[in-house]
Symmetry: C2
């Protein structure tokens, strides 16, 4: 199941409904296979990480981006570039600390939960969209930016909005930094 | 995880890459959990069935379709309506028997396998896109059309094209037939 080189689909868009329902089927399958919510969250995050590693290649190939000069610029590109391109939504970005390495991506509507009303009672610790955190982490790591990515607010847990926190852990300093453009 | 009524996302399109990679993660997870290819195929088909049941509601709500008067018309709507709407591709449709109840949907390119080069050697009986058969079956059953849906040709098994066979099993005869429009 490896990715062939130099192969690009002509039409990059598909129905969001099909994706959202398929993602729901994936989460349901994981819940069936794992009793602990933490295990499901970990699986989703790991899958997201693998997806992020592959998606960032696609993103860099399709974007005419210049090299990011700051964490702030990188956070903007995740929101206005990647989220827009892959999920069709653009989160608001805010920097939440003085040091300038902690950011929040805030979405009024998270497309991944379009068909989800609430978490089942027995699954109150499930982080349904954990795959998004993994995908951001995997994509950033591929361009040599270590980050912690976690859900801070989640409407499925009663919050008003979806808030994803990104904490950049260190500066890009080795040769791979030229990929972060 | 039920579907709220009267809720519609504004933007119905997302990136195909994200969907295809997420689907790949789902198949990989099932392969990890089940040794037998037949079990994985069954899971994918079952998941597709659940997705089809929900997707057909969305499809009927978004399409201004008149009632189908023949199996041929139904097959055309699956290809030109549903496949186009949800996967962004339009299969060719051929009727393959004199009785007029067996059809083939033929795709030169199957978007679901965009990033898949070949099946792992140990997974030669895997029907990677089995979810599509389940989805068609679930959608048809919801509008009271019983059908058998199977893969006939699959490029992952060395065939030139993707061919999905649909055999309609009986006529619509009860009250629910009015939903098939």
């Amino acid at each position: 199941m490896s990715r062939p080189a130099n192969r690009r689909p002509e039409n990059h868009k598909i129905s969001r409904e099909l994706f959202v329902l398929t993602y729901g089927a994936l989460v349901a399958q994981l819940c069936k296979d794992h009793d602990q919510d933490e295990d499901v969250n970990k699986y989703l995050d790991d899958m997201g990480y693998s997806i992020g590693i592959r998606l960032v290649e696609d993103f860099l190939a399709r974007s005419a981006l210049k090299k990011c000069r700051s964490y702030s610029e990188t956070a903007d590109i995740i929101a206005q570039g990647a989220f827009k391109m892959y999920l069709g939504v653009t989160p608001n970005v805010t920097c939440t600390n003085a040091k300038g390495n902690v950011f929040s991506l805030i979405l009024d509507k998270n497309p991944l939960v379009d068909f989800v009303e609430e978490l089942p009672a027995a699954r109150s610790s499930l982080c349904y969209c954990s795959i998004l955190c993994g995908a951001i982490r995997g994509a950033l790591e591929t361009v040599n930016l270590a980050a912690e990515v976690t859900f801070i607010q989640d409407p499925l847990k009663g919050d008003e909005v979806t808030e994803i926190g990104i904490t950049f852990l260190k500066k890009v300093e080795d040769k791979k930094k030229k990929r972060n453009k």
